[in-house]
């Protein structure tokens, strides 16, 4: 049976503007995931472009808008998708070509929260000790794959991608705030205390809905807000 697709196409070399292209293709039984189907399509039309690498949901390359919802092509089952399967680039980002977006702004926000442990004390000979309970605080935070499904589903990020850190960046911010080895709590909170950087989150929770790793940026954002309140009193 043939599978129908409608895919966003744009090649700045030749197209004045983007358009949706229809495809109909016979998939092989081994083409279970959407990424398999896209590879099959590319073997027929080599001008169709998308990012891909690990094909198992850990590298975060193949995030796209699938039937209106952001997700990773490599972990999405084709059979579960209503046809025509409509594929668009991640919303709100400049499109480079077809399903490939320019993620500069997304990474700029990630970098802006200083995503590394800050600790000025001389490093000990062995580990900086951390109890299993303290380490557990990082679960649900460190697993982010920077696919940008969350931030590009967030209306606040669409409106202010230059000012609002966005769910992915804020999840990372809390990952370092929650790490007992990090000493920069105050600087980190100062960095976010701003009408836009943190407080543009209106708990719409699209981020939670789309995260392919089932992480919860909204909860992390709530925790940062709690830390700010605690600091203020």
């Amino acid at each position: 049976m043939k599978t129908k697709f409608s895919i966003y196409r744009y090649n700045p070399d030749v197209d004045a503007k983007p358009y949706m292209q229809d495809y109909e293709i016979e998939l092989e039984p081994s083409d279970k995931k959407l990424l398999d189907a896209l590879m099959r399509l590319k073997s027929v039309d080599d001008s169709l472009n998308f990012r891909r690498s690990c094909r198992e949901g850990v590298c975060g390359s193949d995030a796209m808008n699938i039937n209106g919802k952001n997700g990773l092509a490599c972990v999405t089952d084709v059979v579960d998708l209503k046809q025509p399967i409509t594929l668009r680039p991640l919303p709100g980002m400049p499109v480079i070509r077809d399903l490939i977006v320019d993620m500069t702004q997304f990474f700029k926000q990630y970098h802006s929260i200083k995503p590394y442990v800050q600790n000025d004390e001389p490093a000990p000979q062995r580990e900086r000790l951390q109890s299993p309970e303290e380490r557990k605080e990082l679960d649900g935070l460190y697993e982010c794959i920077l696919c940008a499904c969350c931030s590009t589903s967030c209306p606040s990020f669409w409106w202010n991608p230059d000012k609002f850190v966005g769910p992915a960046g804020l999840l990372a911010a809390y990952r370092f705030l929650a790490d007992t080895r990090d000493q920069a709590t105050n600087e980190r909170l100062d960095n976010l205390e701003d009408p836009y950087r943190l407080f543009r989150c209106h708990t719409i929770m699209n981020c939670v809905d789309v995260c392919p790793k089932e992480l919860n940026p909204t909860r992390a954002i709530g925790k940062i807000k709690e830390m700010m309140i605690k600091r203020a009193v």
Binding site: E56, G57, L129
Partner: protein
């Protein structure tokens, strides 16, 4: 044609664990460094490593780096260079502690120290009993390590050229490496990066096989560039088949599952590894377990309708351990095998996983090639680290968790060697040869103008079929000889690949055509090297020569691409400070 030239002290090709660790060293030393990566660095294949990174920390049980060294030598089936193995295992402890200080989110034991789990071939007291040596961040150790290294490079303000593909090495008339040509994917522009020192950290080439745990980007780009630049490829017959790839999907299931207590079952429900390896059982090294699994299937004890796989059972670990220690495995099993391992076993088969061979290097990260009577002459200005390099610490078979260790130990070592070289031997750039980009421009032009050729995907599929069928878990003279003939035919077809899309911007068809030129170099090297080795050693299991032959074959293979001929060089038997570990029979 005028090509833009950009100058750096150091150019690093590859943004995975080895490239990022080296970059950190160079950036922090204040050298003008750039890291080229085909993908955003955290999308490099290091991210997919699961089970752990080995170091004799002794956090759970007594452990010594000497035992780790012994296991690695034995695991390598005595093809590993013992000076490099000593260097790696001795530096492992500091390397892992350093990652912890960088902020890597390792799991912890009650004392607050790093959690360590058992793994294949990890033993105490020189092979006596299993030991917990694999330092783990759940089953996402590679992800945790790669992100931590990237984050540390953000702190060090390392410069990245993201979504750039290196095309060719630039060597001058003396053979020194003075830069690379590279394609900026977003614009389609080809540039020359002029450097005092170049590091290849380009990863593996597992995509030469039809069934592989490797990411799509693992196309042997560094090996292809070396082959075209007259640098031989070492030990390319040695490919690791990981025992537990998800049957049909190829996705990796970590050995950490068996480390936590998972077991392999055949169709009779028998824990067959007890028969083959009474001591280490399911935790024997990977080459050994893969062969046992293949034997079970060959002898009719495979599972499923086609009797073509075995089962990995872990439900007896209980939901808590599975959710806490193996959460991603559960996710993968549900998504790619359609089973929840809390209730059902996972169907698994041996799957191509890791390239033990690669660019010949020493433990300093220097690339070394034969010249006259000397088998190991340094190529000035050229370094390699990680899976693309053959150092050789893994010899004929890598131990689980030694790959992540290899990346950080030799990434750092290569970085330090480059700093020394730049400061002491190459304070100013050596001039570029004239028309340094012509070779690359001609290759791209060939692809863009080819007519009456074949689609890249068709040639790639043909190559993968040959390698899969002829260079698998068990090898025979007849099969390998056929494989050599067949792969040479595919190599002819690969010279005439063609693409329909000729546009500039983010043209992945062109990138895939360029990757194909690298893959085919690796595939040819693999078949020719494997066909010549008339013994069984590590991952090279030869039915016609079932025994290891130290007298004739304890030596490294070197494959020269231009002549398609082989030469050999001795294994380093002299460690740096400890006693030589002499060969003995490998039983588990």
């Amino acid at each position: 044609m005028a090509v833009t030239v950009r100058q750096f002290d150091a150019v690093i090709v590859g943004g995975g664990g080895a490239g990022l660790r080296a970059a950190l060293q160079l950036s922090e030393a204040g050298l003008k460094t750039v890291v080229l990566s085909k993908v955003f660095p955290t999308r490099s294949h290091t991210v997919a490593a699961q089970g752990g990174i080995s170091a004799a920390l002794g956090n759970v049980q007594e452990d010594k780096w000497e035992w780790h060294m012994y296991d690695t030598v034995k695991g390598s089936d005595w093809l590993g260079d013992q000076d490099a193995i000593e260097f790696m295992t001795r530096n492992a402890i500091d390397a892992v502690i350093e990652l912890e200080h960088f902020g890597m989110p390792f799991d912890r034991v009650d004392s607050g120290r790093i959690y360590q789990r058992p793994f294949g071939g990890h033993t105490a007291n020189f092979g006596k009993t299993p030991v917990q040596r694999a330092c783990a961040a759940a089953d996402r150790t590679g992800h945790a390590m790669l992100h931590t290294l990237y984050q540390r490079n953000v702190r060090a303000k390392t410069q990245f050229f993201v979504e750039w593909m290196a095309l060719d090495l630039i060597r001058d008339s003396e053979g020194d490496v003075v830069g690379v040509t590279a394609l900026e994917m977003e614009t389609g522009e080809i540039m020359v990066l002029h450097a005092k020192a170049v590091l290849f950290a380009t990863g593996g080439s597992g995509r030469i096989f039809a069934a592989s745990t490797n990411a799509f980007i693992n196309t042997g780009d560094g090996l292809g560039m070396c082959a075209r630049a007259g640098i031989p490829l070492e030990d390319m017959e040695f490919w690791q088949f990981h025992p537990t790839g998800v049957a049909g999907a190829g996705v990796l299931i970590t050995e950490g599952v068996r480390g936590e207590g998972g077991i392999l079952l055949n169709a009779n429900g028998e824990r067959f590894m007890e028969r083959y390896a009474p001591n280490l059982k399911d935790l024997a090294p990977r080459d050994f377990v893969s062969r046992c699994m293949a034997l079970e299937v060959l002898e009719g004890r495979g599972c499923g309708k086609e009797k073509d796989h075995v089962l990995l059972k872990l439900d007896h670990l209980g939901p808590d351990i599975i959710k806490q220690r193996l959460p991603s495995i559960r996710e993968i099993a549900i998504k790619f095998a359609g089973v929840d391992p809390i209730k059902e076993p996972i169907p698994v088969i041996p799957t191509c996983h890791y390239q033990m061979g690669g660019i010949p290097t020493n433990y300093l990260g220097e690339v070394i090639t034969p010249q006259g009577d000397n088998p190991e002459v340094r190529v000035n200005g050229f370094y390699a680290a990680g899976e693309c390099a053959c150092t050789s610490v893994h010899g004929a078979n890598r131990l689980g968790t030694n790959s992540l260790l290899d990346l950080v130990v030799f990434g750092k070592s290569a970085g330090n060697s480059m700093i020394d070289f730049i400061r002491k031997e190459r304070p100013t750039h050596k001039p570029l040869p004239e028309n340094a980009a012509d070779f690359s421009l001609a290759r791209v032009n060939r692809i863009d103008t080819q007519t009456n050729g074949e689609d890249v995907s068709a040639v790639r599929t043909a190559m993968q079929k040959v390698v899969q069928a002829r260079a698998g878990v068990f090898r025979t003279d007849k099969n390998l000889a056929l494989g050599v003939t067949e792969i040479k035919e595919v190599a002819e077809r690969a010279k005439r690949t063609q693409i329909k899309d000729k546009s500039k911007v983010f043209n992945m068809a062109r990138v895939e055509a360029l990757e194909m030129e690298n893959l085919i170099e690796v595939a040819v090297a693999t078949l020719i090297s494997a066909e010549a080795r008339k013994e069984s050693r590590g991952a090279h299991a030869h039915d016609d020569y079932p025994n290891r032959d130290d007298e004739n074959w304890m030596k490294h293979t070197l494959f020269d691409s231009a002549s398609r001929t082989l030469s050999y060089k001795p294994v380093h038997t002299k460690p740096l400070s400890v006693e030589y570990i002499p060969p003995k029979e490998r039983t588990f």
